[in-house]
């Protein structure tokens, strides 16, 4: 028994020491990621006046560079494709913890998907995984049961299998980040794809029963956090290649605090009925994004004055 226990302890110690070699893989993972926005937040490098948060609509439709140029306010886009309000809340909290508090937050909304109880929008854990070398990230992953508690001790439990692919990530044409964090569609969608794009004239009816109440609750907390930190929150109702979704806006307004401002795109603007303004039914082309961003700029300026 004694011999067994001694060998077991030696083996355990050796294992514990040798698996620490994986630190190099963990360290390397963050270096090789293409999108470094989250890491910049953690390192306190996003000290801006205006921050844009949202999912793909925020990333594609709102051009942070244009806002900065025309308002003179330093602007950065922290929208992540497919991300939900939980993720936006996490981004905001992390931002406030490590950086100077922004003056304004522009939150891009997603129509019926905003509070939907489905997986169309999710918490982007995949964006956190390459950054497990940071304790705050590891803690978040552990709290959300994405990493075992034992990952605090064992690096092998932190590392992702994909991180053993030692290639530096490259963005595809459609996912290139500009220097302001936005991801506009700089490349036009092929005509072939666009042929199937038809302006949808149906009037949507918002069904409250499809909501995830937790998402509504988090959105309210998101607003409270902005109020606590004296941040002006502007929520953006995005255009789609369809008639204005009045039904969602009506519901969304009910969740707003009086301090929160709501921007609705110019529903009468014919640009939003032109196929050239859209990349697909939900996202604007670069030309369309410029029009929407100009409208947002006017909204920001008007109220600021």
């Amino acid at each position: 028994m004694k011999q067994f226990l001694i060998k077991l302890v030696i083996f355990a110690v050796l294992f514990f020491v040798l698996e620490k070699v994986l630190w190099f893989v963990i360290e390397d993972a963050s270096v090789r990621t293409y999108d470094k926005r989250l890491e910049k937040i953690i390192n306190g490098e996003i000290n801006k006046d205006i921050i844009i948060l949202g999912s793909s609509r925020g990333a594609r439709n709102i051009l942070a560079g244009e806002i900065e140029k025309k308002t003179g306010l330093k602007t950065y886009n922290l929208s992540y494709l497919g991300s939900d309000i939980h993720f936006h809340m996490y981004m905001l909290k992390t931002l406030l913890k490590n950086n100077i508090t922004p003056k304004k937050i522009i939150l891009s909304t997603d129509g019926k998907f905003q509070f939907a109880n489905d997986s169309s929008l999710v918490f982007r854990y995949d964006k956190l995984n390459p950054l497990v070398k940071y304790n705050s990230i590891l803690k978040k992953l552990q709290t959300d049961n994405k990493k075992s508690k034992a990952s605090s001790c064992f690096y092998a439990l932190r590392v992702q299998l994909s991180q053993f692919n030692f290639k530096t990530q490259k963005a595809s044409k459609l996912n290139t980040l500009d220097s302001f964090g936005s991801k506009p569609y700089l490349y036009k969608n092929s005509l072939k794809n666009k042929k199937s794009l038809n302006f949808d004239e149906t009037n949507l009816i918002y069904n409250k029963n499809t909501e995830n109440l937790l998402k509504v609750e988090v959105f309210i907390k998101f607003q409270e956090l902005c109020i606590e930190n004296n941040i002006e929150l502007i929520c953006v109702i995005n255009p789609g290649f369809r008639t204005y979704d009045y039904s969602f806006t009506k519901r969304f307004k009910k969740t707003l605090k009086k301090e929160t401002r709501l921007f609705i795109y110019d529903t009468l603007n014919p640009v939003y009925k032109s196929i050239n303004s859209f990349h697909d039914e939900s996202h604007l082309s670069f030309e369309g994004a410029k029009v929407l961003t100009d409208e947002i700029i006017n909204f920001v300026k008007k109220e600021s004055n």
């Binding site: 067994f4 294992f15 698996e19 075992s148 034992a150 064992f154 092998a156 439990l157 299998l161």
Partner: protein, 479 residues
């Protein structure tokens, strides 16, 4: 509690220390600790179902004692049937009630009379199929006079609930396991080291092989309409390795853990994918269940002693019942039926016991003939697993239909390189260790210590990396 969980990683050392350092002087106390640990292990999942195990154990314990006293054959038979009815009654209710109700309703509606379906929202108690068969083997063996009934209640409770094999086997015979609870266990260094190695290999099979294959098998099976025939073949192969890694991995961990406590359990898997015919496959796959059915169903039915018709009937019965044991779904019955079809030609031509030795026993590589036979058996097995994995019979047929067309010759789009490399490495290690109890038992045995330990550390790191902190349930828990 899962074997691949942090809870178990804490639970096991605590029980080990209490077992060998606190209770080792008194056998009764040591057995009581096993009972307590086993009930904790099971109750971690759902404590309410502990009452079922306790009740089942007490019934069979009492019936065992009554069988000893009773000399009248009719009354003895009655006692045996009482045990069978109670045990199979529980199993039938929890596992098959809804299946039978649904099928009766469907059958009636087929003949034009609509009746109300009264299915219940029943939770299947984990491991019920395993411990039910284990206790049944005790009563049947006592009835047949193969085993003396025990008067030691603690030992009996420990035998039924022994935590390493409680929820997914191996299904131990009372004749093998129960006597081990009567004797004082001694700690053997080599046995414990072997146990650790087997646990490590079991975890590797489960976490690295099974769970990796499961990701792709699930995607392909759940969306089979979107994939070409070659992808569907790959999906079936992934499931083939998933089920093997999952279940044999569980058995390895169970056997290895038992060894740490001084117990010897029977081998449950003996490298089945190197089998040269289906009969050999069934001697190597889930051995504890196959032999259970052989001894308590096939032989009492007359086995292969009768005429051709009897042989055919018994073969179909044993394979279909074995399939049905896995779950209340026609897919399992179809899987059993298909295996019976595979097996029958061998039985009828008396070739079912041709390959009883280890493949390529005295050589490093198999002969071309052996390789061909192995490939054929493996292919038949892969095909049969489609029924096992499918959600329904129509799903299975739709999968096969989409698989068997010209697209089977296309290069598959799903090519997870790292899994394919892992599977090749895994099969190489399994091949090298095919003469042993488990694959890595003697691997690197003749090499210096640092090579052996380096290999174990590499295995350990791989397991942790693949586990990624998330616990995956073992497939056989649902049975």
């Amino acid at each position: 509690m899962f074997f691949n969980s942090l809870d178990f990683a804490i639970f096991l050392p605590i029980v080990f220390v209490l077992y060998w350092f606190i209770t080792q002087k008194q056998l009764k106390l040591q057995n009581a600790l096993i009972v307590l640990a086993s009930y904790t292990f099971y109750g971690w999942w759902d404590w309410r179902f502990l009452s079922l195990i306790v009740f089942s154990s007490l019934i069979d314990f009492t019936i065992g004692l009554l069988l000893k006293k009773e000399e009248h054959q009719t009354k003895r038979k009655l006692l045996l049937w009482l045990s069978i009815c109670i045990n199979l009654g529980f199993l039938g209710f929890f596992k098959y009630y809804n299946f039978f109700v649904d099928n009766f309703v469907q059958a009636f509606s087929f003949f034009g009379s609509e009746i109300q379906s009264n299915t219940l929202n029943i939770i299947l108690p984990v491991g019920i199929s395993f411990y039910t068969f284990q206790t049944l083997s005790y009563t049947i063996d006592v009835y047949k006079g193969k085993l003396k009934p025990t008067r030691d209640l603690t030992a009996f409770l420990a035998f039924v609930s022994f935590f390493p094999q409680l929820v997914a086997g191996p299904i131990e015979r009372a004749t093998n396991l129960l006597p081990q609870f009567y004797k004082k266990r001694k700690f053997h260094y080599s046995k414990a080291v072997n146990g650790c190695k087997q646990i490590l290999w079991g975890l590797f099979k489960k976490v690295v092989i099974a769970d990796s294959c499961a990701t792709y098998a699930n995607i392909i099976f759940n969306n089979h309409e979107d994939f070409s025939g070659s992808n569907l073949v790959l999906g079936a192969i992934f499931f083939t390795f998933q089920i093997y890694g999952d279940f044999s991995g569980y058995s390895d961990i169970a056997i290895g853990t038992s060894r740490l406590f001084g117990f010897d359990l029977k081998q449950n898997f003996a490298f089945p994918y190197f089998s040269r015919d289906i009969a050999e496959f069934w001697r190597r796959w889930h051995i504890s269940l196959s032999t259970w059915f052989r001894d308590y169903l096939y032989i009492p039915l007359g086995g292969s002693k009768g005429g051709t018709l009897m042989k055919v009937r018994n073969t179909f019965i044993i394979f279909i019942v074995s399939g049905f044991w896995h779950g209340a779904n026609w897919t399992f019955i179809a899987w059993g039926f298909l295996n019976a079809l595979y097996f029958l030609p061998l039985l009828l031509t008396n070739k079912n016991r041709v390959n009883t030795n280890v493949v390529a026993e005295n050589s490093f590589l198999p002969s071309i003939n052996e390789l061909f036979k192995m490939a054929l058996t493996f292919s038949l097995t892969v095909f049969a697993w489609i029924f096992f994995r499918a959600e329904s019979i129509s799903h299975a047929f739709s999968y096969i239909d989409a698989m068997l067309n010209e697209s089977i010759f296309k290069i598959p789009e799903v090519r997870p390189k790292y899994i394919l490399i892992l599977l090749v490495l895994f099969m190489v290690i399994e091949w090298l260790g095919r003469r042993n109890y488990f694959a890595i038992e003697t691997l690197f045995a003749k090499n210096p210590q640092f090579i052996k330990w380096g290999f174990y550390i590499l295995l350990g790191i791989t397991i942790l990396v693949f586990s990624n902190g998330e616990e995956q349930e073992f497939i056989y828990f649902q049975f």
